[in-house]
Subunit: 86 residues, 2 copies
Amino acid sequence: MSLLDYFKTTKPNSAKLAKERLQILVAHERSERNQPSYLPQLKQELLNVIRKYIQINQDDISVNFESDDEQETLELNIVIPEQPQS
Amino acid sequence: MSLLDYFKTTKPNSAKLAKERLQILVAHERSERNQPSYLPQLKQELLNVIRKYIQINQDDISVNFESDDEQETLELNIVIPEQPQS
């Protein structure tokens, strides 16, 4: 199963809500334990890039960071506010 | 099952290879069909950000983009070159 399949299996539920959502996952598999992690810093830069494309508030973003010896995962979940009707 | 769990189930295999890898997934669930997609443009900007943290060649990156009416998914898989011993 690929990650793309995973996203597909989650789709029907979210489509029902008719919300726009953006999810970003960054997974880093390290070959050595004692390397510095750049994911926390990377997070802010990713958010800056996304803000160029969509207007989001800090409140609309939830961030999850998990780390163990070999793997770090950064998860950003963004609920995109409804656009005003023009 | 969360996406984080998915990453965990794939770990043993990749750890065996002792490679460093970075995987980025961007999933966008749209509430309307005819919106412009910003993911292709976002891709290049994400790569520019990552290049600030790690040295990667264009050849080390594979990109997958899938799109249907409600969902777009951008997948970046990056194999991080081994660092020279210092």
